[in-house]
Symmetry: C2
Subunit: 182 residues, 2 copies
C-alpha cells in the first residue's frame, strides 16, 4: 500500500500558515527525501480573512495534491476548526489553539488542545511565531518528518536575523507536544 | 464553458519562484476576487535544485490544482525549459530568460525571450528580484490578473522595507513585456 499523509493548516490571514506549509513540505522533500506537495486554495473565504495551507507527504509521486481525508488538522481559529474538522479521519489528529478554539468537535480522532499562541507570546515574546511553534507540535505528533529536516527547512526559509528566534519557537513546539503526549 | 488558466513558474532554487506563485495567486483571489490555487510539488528533482510553482486561476472552484495543460510557462533556466515546455498548450505563451535559456523549443505557442535577470540586475540593482520582474511580465502577457491586484499582492508579501525596490522591479517587468508585445 502506498503511504500518503495529509495535513491541513488552518486559521486566519497573518498567522503565517502558508510559510508553515511550505517549510513542512520542504523539510519532507528536500531534507528527508520523500515526496511532498504544498497547496493553497483561495476562494471567496480568502477575502474574509480565512487561510488554509495543505501539505501531502507520500512515498509515491503525488497525483492529487488536495487534502480530502485529513490525517492531521491544525486549527488556530474556532471558525477554521468548525469548518474543517469534518474532513478529518477518525484515526487522525486535531491540533487546536486553546485560546482561540474553545468548542471542540466530537469524533474518533485525537484532540491536542494546546496553548500555541500563548507559548509564542509568553515564551518567545512574539505571537507571530505561533506558526513555527505549530510546526514543532506537528512534527512531534505526526512523526512523518524528522526533527532535523524541519530545523533545516526553518533556517532556510525564515528571514535572515530571525533564525534564532524561530529555532526557539520550534523547540517550544516540540516541548508542548511532548508535554501532552508524554 | 468554465474558464481555467494554468501558469507554471520554473527555474532553480533561490530564484524566488515560490513567492512569485504565491503573490500571483493572492493577487487573483484576494484582490481580483477570482478563484486561485498555488501548488509546489517537490520530488527527487528538488534535491537537484530545480524549482517549480504552479498557479491555477478559474471562475469556478478548482478541484484539480495541478497544471497539466499549461497556458503560460515561465522558464528561468535551460533545464526547466527543456523539461516543461512539452506541457505547454499550442495556444500558450512561453516566457524565458534570454541569458539562461538559449535553445528554444519549437511549437505553436508564442515565445517571449526577454532579459529578465539582466533587467533585475542592471535596472534594479538586484538579481534576486528577477522573480518580481517576471511577475510584471506575466501580468502584462497573460491578462488574467489586474495590474492593481498584483501591485497590492506584492506589497502585502515582500519583506518590510523592500516594497519600493519590488515595486520598481514589477514596473520594469510590465515595461519589458510591453516593449516586446508593442
Amino acid at each position: 500500500m502506498p503511504y500518503r499523509y495529509e495535513i491541513r493548516l488552518s486559521g486566519e490571514g497573518g498567522q503565517g500558515l502558508v510559510l508553515a506549509g511550505l517549510i513542512l513540505a520542504e523539510a519532507a522533500a528536500i531534507y528527508d527525501g520523500i515526496n511532498a506537495t504544498q497547496t493553497q486554495a483561495y476562494g471567496p473565504e480568502s477575502r474574509g480573512g480565512a487561510s488554509k495551507s495543505e501539505v501531502i507527504i507520500s512515498d509515491e509521486e503525488i497525483d492529487y495534491p488536495k487534502a480530502t481525508q485529513i490525517d492531521l488538522l491544525l486549527a488556530l481559529t474556532q471558525e477554521a476548526c468548525n469548518k474543517y474538522w469534518p474532513d478529518l479521519k477518525d484515526s487522525g489528529a486535531l491540533v487546536v489553539d486553546s485560546s482561540r478554539v474553545t468548542e471542540l468537535p466530537k469524533g474518533g480522532f485525537k484532540i491536542y488542545h494546546l496553548p500555541i499562541i500563548e507559548t509564542a507570546k509568553d515564551q518567545i515574546g512574539k505571537a507571530v511565531v505561533a506558526n513555527i511553534v505549530s510546526l514543532g507540535v506537528i512534527t512531534a505528533i505526526s512523526g512523518v518528518v524528522s526533527r532535523e529536516a524541519v530545523e533545516k527547512a526553518v533556517r532556510a526559509r525564515v528571514p535572515k536575523g530571525t533564525e534564532e528566534l524561530n529555532w526557539r519557537a520550534l523547540e517550544a513546539g516540540f516541548k508542548l507536544a511532548h508535554a501532552q503526549t508524554g
